[in-house]
């Protein structure tokens, strides 16, 4: 009799358990990663290494046994633990490979195999088992292989953007990732990976172009025009996807670029004096007011 009453009062622990699983995997793999390096000269480290390898193989075995058949569409994971076991497996595998290289120099120093092999494993895992988190790990690994730190916190802090090669790499990689996003969507091969590719691509491309504006001063106006063009592309994308996130990022990047260009023209080109300071303050006030109006309009536009 009371069955219908009980249904709405069911209390889901989904996000609590997911968070705990995530914290568990994070602690375990980080701890093991440190442990194996700290115990290099003791007998225990062989055991730790074996444990890491077993963990990796065991996790992959579990996922292989439980996975739903491969599809180019979005595959639902069979159960909640599955996603995290897969994460545990691929991270253990990467730790293991990194250690092999560190201790025995298995892959030598050629072709960056040390970052290349984990990257391949990660991309394969992401596609074969359908895992967005591992895909973003694979993308940061791809960037690392190309020489760029691309995780959300390190993109701005750990890269030396005064290096011309690094800037070009960032731009090329950004374009490549955006193309991968379009490809996933158009060919309908894991179309839901599109956003992850586009997101990383957007940031790399904008940051790369922004650095290029200052590093390659002779072609500054050209680069500036390119940024505006990219901004327009992403503006259309944001409208198409109805993505507020892409809209905000594009707006902010373009605003920073436009402001930088205005300041450059004002102080370096026109060689303005104190009057320029007044002008620049006024520029910031007026432009921000205009942007506020723009964002409020866009909010209405995207919502409908």
């Amino acid at each position: 009799m009371e069955q219908p009453l009980q249904q709405p009062s069911l209390f889901s622990l989904k996000w609590e358990i997911r968070t705990m699983l995530y914290a568990g995997v994070l602690l375990l793999t980080t701890g093991l990663g440190v442990l194996v390096y700290k115990n290099i000269d003791t007998i225990g480290h062989q055991a730790i290494l074996a444990f890491i390898a077993l963990l990796g193989i065991g996790s992959y075995y579990y996922c292989l046994k439980h996975k739903t058949p491969f599809t180019t569409e979005k595959a639902e994971s069979p159960n909640m633990a599955y996603d995290y076991i897969l994460l545990l497996g691929s991270l253990s595998m990467i730790t293991f490979i990194g250690y092999l290289q560190f201790q025995y120099n298995v892959f030598g120093n050629r072709f960056g195999l040390v970052t290349f092999i984990p990257m391949v494993i990660l991309f394969f895992t992401a596609y074969y088992f359908d895992h967005l988190g591992i895909l973003s790990l694979a993308i940061t690994n791809l960037a690392a292989w190309a020489g760029i730190a691309a995780t959300p916190q390190t993109l701005f802090t750990q890269n030396d953007f005064s290096s011309g090669i690094l800037i070009l790499t960032a731009i090329v990689l950004g374009i490549l990732l955006i193309i991968m996003g379009i490809f996933s969507r158009k060919k309908n091969i894991k179309a839901h990976f599109d956003f992850t590719y586009t997101n990383f691509g957007l940031h790399l491309l904008f940051v790369g172009c922004f650095a290029a504006m200052f590093e390659f001063e002779p072609i500054q106006l050209l680069v500036f025009a390119a940024i505006i063009a990219i901004g327009y592309y992403f503006f259309l994308e944001a409208k198409r996807r109805k993505s507020f996130y892409i809209l905000l990022m594009t707006t902010l990047y373009c605003y920073v670029a436009i402001s930088a260009e205005v300041m450059y023209l004002l102080f370096n080109f026109l060689r303005a004096d104190v009057g320029g300071v007044y002008l620049s303050f006024m520029y910031y006030i007026v432009s921000s007011v205009l942007l506020v109006i723009f964002l409020i309009r866009m909010n209405k536009n995207l919502k409908s």
Partner: protein, 359 residues
Amino acid sequence: MIAYSQADMDNQKLYSPNIFIRIGLFILTVIITGFSLGLFSLVVFSADGGENAFAVTCIFFAILTYVALEVMVTSKKHFNSGVDDALMWMTAIFFLSGLNIMSTFSMLANSVICFLLAMFFAARFRAVAMSAVAGISLLAIFFFTYIRMGEMAKLTMPFLILIASAILYFTVTAAKKITLLKYHLSCLVVLRILFLITIFISGNYFIVREAGNEFFDAGLIPGQAMPFGWLFWTFTYGFPLLYIVAGTMRKDRLLLRVGLLLLIAMVLTVRYYHFGLPIETFMVLAGGGLIAFCVFLMRYLKQPRHGFTFKEIEGQKDEDAPHLEALIIAGTFAAPQAASPATQFGGGSGGGAGASGEF
């Protein structure tokens, strides 16, 4: 008192844009007010200014931003739009800076001003963050009043804050039934979280011992026990467990989540004083334990028991969650270090968790 008309709030006629638009509008509003203040200062006292002139300018700008806030809220119906958030913060910051540049106020006086301002904003504009500020400054008022009572006060300070937080927690929890406050429910939620945390903090062994050493010159050397140490250890262990148990029994998600969060703080406190266990061994054990516990829980709840399930409840799907989760994973794991530019396409040190060092 509330700046919005009741009909607008009931029919959701308020202007509350998407969270990303809100962030953008917040940043832009801060830029506008900041540069306006800069421009104004430049124009008004380009020759000489002096502190008082700047203080007056600050107060003047506090009034300006407040008027702007009132206009945006009453005529444009902005609510949590980023514009109103920013204007509120700017008003408070301009006002407090102006006052403090003009003359010196005691910490107590500042806390009182902060409390009154934040209370007003929270009440009138239903600002969630401001209600948290009000809660913190209320506790600060207790702290700075009580501390004037001499030596005894220093020793019993944790108990005062503990009792005050507990009373406030129960008051706030009961207050959600008051119809007058029905538009401030999210403020009350934030205050509940805040006071649950301050209850734990005021009883936490680490905080009490180290803060006592720092502020009151208790003069404890490392390794030396603290008077009433056992009591604070009981609090440190007790509160998170109490929250989790109470949260589970009452099916109160807020209590449960705060409890889980504070469990981490509890574990860190215990580890700080007791175990000589190296951090990595501890991480492995804790991580393994957590995963095992989750697997057990999922087995146990395969069929929903006692009204609990680990599955998603129909109609509560969260579309953006997987993308956010993917970003968090990319941010916290791997952290593959990029190679130096000299080794383009072929560099990079160890990818993967924990692998470090150049090869």
